[in-house]
Symmetry: C2
Subunit: 359 residues, 2 copies
């Protein structure tokens, strides 16, 4: 199974341009959240769009009658951003503190620059202050570390992202490790992952994309406790933490990966499916138990000569088939994607509240 | 499901006395490794004991013909201790360093004292130097922290265990967190667990009991890659890390816990079962797929008037039934138990090698 996409599902790698790589006859997607910009008509076909309020009770036990409810990630993300906006104002009014998110951009990749700009916009829209450092492509690792260190020490910065990828002459791991764990809003530090895995421990931050998946289930009142959940894909930034989150909520979780011999059979047992594998339309309708709830993290471009750009975006799940079997499903785009950046804003707010002990 | 037992499966809590608590009509087991001392006849009945060499090829795909091979943890542990002994000698001869394990004992619990003594014996048997600090029951937390700090700074100490439980007036978490991660041979630090969960990362130490489970599979040449594995129990110290280890070896893993609705059905899909739940004979023969491999971490005392002590020890798996269906099974006692302390010695050796950069 391709896992290329997963390495780009961190909020520090979101919003990059899509690269279509036909060398291997496949597309490589170098972007995760940018699909907010791509409003195709691929989603929702043949399915019932949920109402403007995304809060509706759905049970994975309820057998679908041929049309799944569409989990509207865009609407939920908007609602969350509105909530964050209110909290940011309340915090400012109460204690005079404005949450701050810093992004370090190295080099002149246009895609990175564009998406750093998008993050800035998202921050602006909720009142989070954004900070930015742009360093030249030929900067030294020490210069980047100096910037990290500066933001680590800056009390007005509550979250730090280093925009990836970094130039190849730099040790990415080394630079990421330099970010203070209290400001590591991506939540990928092993200490956070360890706490996520352990009962009785709480991570400082939950990685944005898996957090967004679970938040969608919560906002749609989809019960998790006692449910069979299958996570397809075991990446560090989506599949694995999503499985840990589901387990924390008392689901019985199985992770399917490239070495799994009978993924179809196992997936068919699931009440909840989270797919984050980066293979277009991999999960067919026959893989899905009637009434299951599907969260599709995959965003895969497929050739489409009728589209202006020559391609359209689809998920890991064959949507047209799945929405006839599932009870609820996220579309691609407009499902999980918009949630990632909302969760990044949420993590930044959480960080500021914790640092300033603001309830 | 009871999870009491799990909290005692750390190597820092091994070898305690068994407490029989009839208040709730159940037994509470406060001990994990001490079963080395209890040689009942409960194990091996109706089953084939493996040969003196524990290395024999077993396939979970092979249908059992009514008699499982008994995975002889005692023999494997002995072999590992012999291997450790050779490595300790080689290290001493090559660079003049002897691995050292320090145990901090607080209070006058007889069980704790006995089992600290047992650890000392185990160290002696392989040439690892053991250090011990005994503090009075009414010691202050600061005094314990001072001892931890002393061992943290002592270059002849490569592993530190704080014997649990600590007196109730102390903050256990606080004290355990004070142990330097490079010497935390129990491997329970969230940073270690995080690294265990993450692909491409390596933990400094793998927790002893789950490490022992996987080591048994390896030593018996039982393939893990691509196999369906079920872990029963999700404790921080056995179930969860065992699942992470199985996943690192490319098994398709499901964790069953107290909220799982159909544990029998899910368990029956497994090629490999690791049970660590602390319920006597919970897993019946009907739960087991013919030819499955079973690692039974549970050690549960059940009343037995014919036994001198009035009880005997059994696992989570109904051994008499299981050994007719499985292809291989660990007995209780004599299965996983002896492996825990062997892995503790192994972790101490690993630590010394790493600190002194000795290959």
């Amino acid at each position: 199974m391709a896992s290329l996409m997963f390495t780009d599902c961190s909020s520090s790698t979101t919003s990059r341009l899509i690269h279509l790589n036909r060398r291997n006859g496949t597309f490589l997607l170098r972007q995760c959240v940018g699909q907010l910009r791509f409003q195709t008509t691929a989603s929702g076909r043949g399915c019932i769009r949920s109402s403007s309020s995304p809060i509706s009770a759905i049970s994975a036990d309820t057998k679908s009658e041929g049309a799944a409810i569409v989990i509207d990630g865009k609407a939920v993300a908007k609602k969350i951003r509105d909530e964050i906006s209110i909290e940011v104002s309340r915090m400012k009014e109460s204690i005079g503190v404005v949450p701050g998110l810093a992004v370090i951009l190295v080099g002149d990749r246009k895609d990175s620059a564009t998406y750093v700009r998008n993050k800035k916009k998202a921050c602006d829209s909720v009142g989070i202050k954004s900070f930015e450092v742009c360093l030249a492509e030929d900067s030294s690792e020490e210069e980047v570390l100096k910037s990290v260190s500066g933001f680590n020490d800056d009390p007005s910065v509550h979250g730090i992202l280093v925009q990836l990828p970094l130039p190849s002459h730099m040790d990415e791991q080394n630079i990421l490790n330099a970010v203070r764990i209290e400001k590591d809003v991506d939540g990928f530090h092993p200490l956070n992952i360890g706490r996520l895995a352990m009962r009785g421990r709480e991570p400082l931050f939950v990685p944005c994309t898996p957090k967004g998946c679970i938040e969608l289930l919560h906002r749609y009142n989809i019960g998790i406790k006692g449910k069979r959940a299958v996570v397809i894909g075991r990446s560090n930034i989506v599949g694995m933490p999503a499985a840990l989150l589901l387990q924390r909520e008392d689901a019985t979780v199985t992770i399917i990966h490239s070495r799994t011999k009978n993924p179809e059979e196992i997936t068919r047992e699931a009440d909840i499916i989270i797919s984050a594998v980066g293979q277009a339309n991999m999960v067919k309708g026959s893989w899905i138990k009637p009434g299951a709830v599907i969260i599709d993290v995959g965003i895969n471009p497929v050739e489409d000569s009728s589209a202006a750009r020559g391609y359209r975006l689809v998920g890991d799940i064959c949507y047209e088939e799945a929405c006839k079997v599932a009870s609820a499903i996220t579309p691609v785009p407009g499902g999980v994607g918009p949630m990632t950046i909302a969760m990044l804003l949420s993590n930044t707010l959480t960080s500021a509240k914790r640092i300033h002990n603001f309830q």
